[in-house]
């Protein structure tokens, strides 16, 4: 995910840290914004994330994992603030997903429709979709960060996209 040039262990801590700010604060803010949908709170979450990152930066052993590490800190901080419970429910396995649902007719939709649909998406589907579409993570990275198995993540990614398609077709979700 992360270009190895972003960080180098040879650089002093303050230089590494500032690179993390400059490279990732935009992605982290947008991820935070769509998790909580409040600009002030999203900024607070990003600030708290970087404060925690400073305290633990020396423990970051794999520099290529820096982005996922920051996203994980932010997710935990968001969950702490919103007092969110971990998602606990059954997902059907990927075998049940039909390819023709992905190959349906093309849809057209506005930015406002997308934002409305994302806001209406249940948390357990919105989070992995944001991580993939905004964060650029592949599903095994998302699975590691969310501590889920990869089939569950793929199922949620599929359902999130299917939900959006139904929302765009019907003007609302199920």
């Amino acid at each position: 995910m992360v270009n190895a040039q972003v960080l180098s262990f040879r650089e002093p801590k303050n230089v590494r840290y500032q690179r993390l700010i400059l490279v990732y604060h935009t992605d982290l803010y947008r991820f935070a914004y769509w998790l909580c949908r409040d600009s002030d709170l999203a900024q607070d979450l990003v600030q708290d994330t970087y404060e925690r990152a400073w305290k633990s930066l020396d423990a970051l052993e794999d520099l290529n994992a820096a982005k996922g590490w920051l996203f994980t800190i932010l997710r935990r901080e968001n969950a702490r603030r919103f007092d969110k419970k971990q998602f606990k429910y059954e997902d059907t396995e990927l075998d049940e997903i039909m390819d023709d649902e992905l190959a349906g007719p093309e849809q057209d939709f506005s930015d406002a429709q997308v934002r409305e649909a994302i806001s209406a998406l249940p948390d357990e589907y919105r989070e992995p979709l944001l991580m993939q579409v905004l964060g650029g993570f592949v599903s095994d990275e998302i699975a590691e960060q969310l501590e889920l198995n990869i089939n569950t993540v793929n199922t949620r990614l599929f359902r999130a996209r299917a939900y959006l398609r139904r929302f765009f077709i019907a003007g609302k979700g199920d």
């Binding site: 604060h25 992905l102 579409v133």
Partner: protein
């Protein structure tokens, strides 16, 4: 690649450029649809990033570096500094509070309302309860429900302490509520007033809650209502 493998790869990384070359025409339609949808979703979600965020993060870095260099007692001085920068970032300038003579909750609350209310009234908009609760979580508090409209919810600087400034709009007027950390170095004053405003302070386990209004009828009922609706989140 069979159908199951294809779906797995497609969902795992829809932007993988190798997908197209490994699939037939029918699968190409799925790839095209999902990539197009993701592209539109990404564009719609790329909201502007507030320019002050980068300033806040770099200020925070300077503070953290300084903390690491200083003995622990020194950090108390930096707490006041970062709270001040937070207030600056959200656009609240409140120079009257810098006067060292004002050292109790009542004086700060009254001065804050007198100074900020004209500006705050121009910024009122309904605040979702879950967003307010996310901010209250900083004080380990939450509102399970609230019958009045919360129209303003921002953190502010209260004698160098990050506090939460809420404004309720009722049928009779406005009620301002400050949530101030219990460890703020401000004397607790239960009842107070000036020629226009009056207020009541509530002492909770994690914070002091100050209710201020220029509507006497609201002041007679709101403190009890706030006390009833505020619960501890932990």
């Amino acid at each position: 690649m069979d159908n199951k493998q294809f779906i797995h790869k497609l969902l795992s990384d829809p932007s993988d450029p190798q997908l197209q070359s490994e699939t037939d025409g029918e699968c190409s339609a799925s790839i095209h649809n999902i990539q197009k949808q993701d592209y539109r979703v990404r564009n719609a979600l790329e909201v502007p990033v507030p320019p002050e965020l980068l300033t806040r993060l770099l200020d925070q870095q300077r503070r953290l570096e300084a903390q690491d260099r200083q003995p622990s007692w020194f950090s108390e001085y930096w707490k006041a500094g970062i709270a001040a920068s937070v207030a600056f970032a959200i656009g609240l300038s409140f120079s009257v509070l810098q006067t060292p003579a004002q050292q109790d909750l009542a004086q700060y609350a009254l001065a804050h309302v007198r100074s900020e209310m004209p500006m705050v009234e121009k910024m009122l908009m309904p605040q979702p309860l879950d967003g307010v609760n996310a901010k209250l979580a900083a004080y380990d508090l939450k509102l399970n429900d609230f019958p009045e409209s919360i129209m303003f919810a921002k953190f502010c600087d209260f004698n160098g302490t990050k506090s939460l400034h809420l404004v309720m709009k009722t049928s009779l007027g406005f009620v301002t509520i400050f949530v101030v950390p219990a460890d703020a170095k401000l004397d607790f004053v239960e009842q107070f007033s000036d020629p226009r405003y009056a207020g009541t302070s509530l002492k909770l386990r994690t914070a002091n809650v100050v209710v201020v209004s220029d509507v006497p009828a609201e002041l007679s009922r709101m403190p009890a209502l706030v006390k009833e609706k505020l619960t501890y989140s932990i």
